[in-house]
Amino acid sequence: MKKIIIICLFFGLNSCSQDRDISLSPVAITLNFAHSWGEDEISSSDFDELKFTNENEQTLSINRLRYVISEITLIHESGEPTVLNDYNLVDLTNEAGLSFTTSESILPGDYVSASFRFGFSNNLNIDGAYPDLNSALFNVPGLLGGGYHFMQLDGMYIDNNNQEAAYNYHVINAFDASNPNETVETSFSVNIGGLTIGSNTNINMKMDISEWFKNPNMWDLDEFDTNLMGNYDAQLLMNQNGSSVFDLVSITQ
């Protein structure tokens, strides 16, 4: 009788263990990035043409758009946070990095919130530390604080002399050359909201590029077109405008 109990116990425990392994195997998640100008979806085929109008009624083109996201963070319903060390360069110019599956995995289940960071936080914005971003020439010069671009948005616009002029809307960590030891964190967290992580979770995000030019600061390209990396005030304005550029489109399982 004792033997039978032990055998039953063994199979019972084994069975429980298998169930738990199946339901709690860590999984990767996928983030997909689409892009729009207002309501209009855009891709690289929309580049290089003066076809967009910003809130300040300036006509502009987009020739290059690249940005980095990092620190995907999920807060479990138990309150425990999980921060993934992954980062990803989204390159709309070359249609690369638009779909990104994390190399690190998390346990499936219900999470009360999820987010990612646009750019790198100060402690991760380490000069020259990421070979793939170095290879992509995404670095920020040391004399502007080092680290990496958060975004490179380049194009042409019609200036107030009715001439085509260049703009380089480059977002970096704000750097005040007159006070280089004082740093302001201008990367920012993008809230995805609560979600359930299953075995094949896709988080579909959209960047509305027009938001960089309007909300809350209406962007005048005649005032802020080039040499913005070293423009501390412009970086703070960009940071404010960035808060409304991303929207969650859907989460699919």
């Binding site: 020739n63 170095n134 290879s135 670095n139 004399l143 990396m229 070293g230």
Partner: protein, 356 residues
């Protein structure tokens, strides 16, 4: 009967033994894998070099590729090799604006220097990016009527009849049967070993030497967004390639005789775009630009300072085009030139492994 059995056994052993010996002689030679000697800064800063899985580097493949690279048998009349236009003493370019082919005819673009090709991550080669791998690029000059003006059937026949090549192909690729695919694979292997990573500035970054104040000033101008702003296309202390290997219209002309990338993609928005060359070894690579229009570094710097021409596809990074350029002072120009010269790698130029 027992005697016959013993004899049979002995004969069998001898036969097996002979048979084994014959097998050993006919055993296929296995080429020795080769690992690139990657400079320390490249290891620290860059992702791994691209080596195609269908053309791994081997010592035999590289040796064969080197022999082919310097062999004039690849040209119609045995007068030109790859090295005729890609001379190791010129950082694997030549000093002409347009190289001359076997018939004395000039090409229409400046010969590109060859180094650090395994770090060309987009795998697009030539000024207009038309060659989608090093192997494919190597197919072109042999049959180009204004370059080597030969044909692959002629070239492979010559190589096949050579005393040394069939054995070298056997050792490198397991076959004595020579064809254009194997020739270009071998040349590409050799070209991937052409690594330039030991300039004065590399040594400076490694803490092994110092720069003059003028050179440091020049580096600051290079890295300043409101001065040279060279780093967006040509790299930095964090990218020792000194190129983005991408395609830009850098304001040379208002209209285009040569469409560059646009002639490959068919997209008018790509017209006038050409590959950014590396800034390494500029001392050896004059003249400059895709058409070799500038003879000196001073002319190049003047172009970016005040000579930019506007056009429909100009890169937005040429941001002061309405003023002609970034407006450097004579002192700033001299400083920038001094910095650029610190990217000269004499060890690469003199490396005996790269000479004929």
């Amino acid at each position: 009967m027992k005697k016959y059995f013993l004899l049979l056994l002995l004969f069998s052993i001898l036969f097996v033994s002979c048979s084994n010996k014959d097998n050993t002689i006919e055993e296929e030679y296995t080429p020795i894998p080769y690992s690139l000697e990657v400079p320390e800064l490249f290891q620290q800063k860059l992702i791994a070099p691209l080596i195609p899985t269908n053309n791994p580097l081997t010592e035999e493949g590289i040796a064969l590729g080197k022999k082919l690279f310097f062999d004039k048998k690849l040209s119609k009349d045995n007068t030109q090799s790859c090295a005729s236009c890609h001379n190791p003493r010129n950082s694997f370019t030549d000093s002409l604006r347009f190289s001359l082919g076997v018939d004395g005819l000039p090409g229409s673009r400046n010969s590109m220097p060859l180094f650090n090709l395994a770090w060309n991550f987009n795998d697009k080669f030539a000024w207009d990016g038309k060659e989608l791998s090093l192997e494919r690029q190597a197919l072109e000059p042999v049959r180009n009527p204004i370059e080597m003006h030969s044909s692959w059937s002629n070239v492979t026949l010559r190589l096949q009849q050579d005393q040394e090549y069939p054995k070298m192909f056997l050792n490198a690729f397991g076959t004595e049967r020579i064809d254009s695919a194997l020739v270009t694979k071998a040349i590409a292997q050799f070209e991937r070993t052409l690594i330039s990573g030991n300039a004065k500035f590399d040594q400076y970054l490694l803490g092994n030497t110092s720069l003059s104040q003028q050179e440091l000033n020049g580096f600051t101008i290079f890295m300043s967004e409101d001065k040279g702003d060279c780093f967006h296309c040509h790299g930095s202390d964090n990218n020792p390639l000194w190129t983005d290997n991408d395609f830009h219209n850098n304001g040379l002309d208002t209209s285009f005789n040569d469409l560059g990338l646009g002639s490959v993609t068919g997209d008018p928005n790509d017209n006038g775009k050409f590959k950014s060359p590396s800034l390494r070894n500029l001392v050896y690579t004059a003249p400059y630009m895709h058409d070799g229009r500038f003879s000196t570094l001073e002319e190049v710097i003047n172009h970016y300072s005040e000579g930019l021409q506007n056009s429909s596809t100009i890169d937005p990074l040429m941001k002061k085009v309405s003023q002609g350029g970034v407006q450097l002072t004579p002192l700033e120009k001299a400083d920038l030139k001094a910095f650029l010269i610190t990217l000269t790698d004499d060890d690469f130029i003199n490396n005996p492994s790269f000479q004929n």
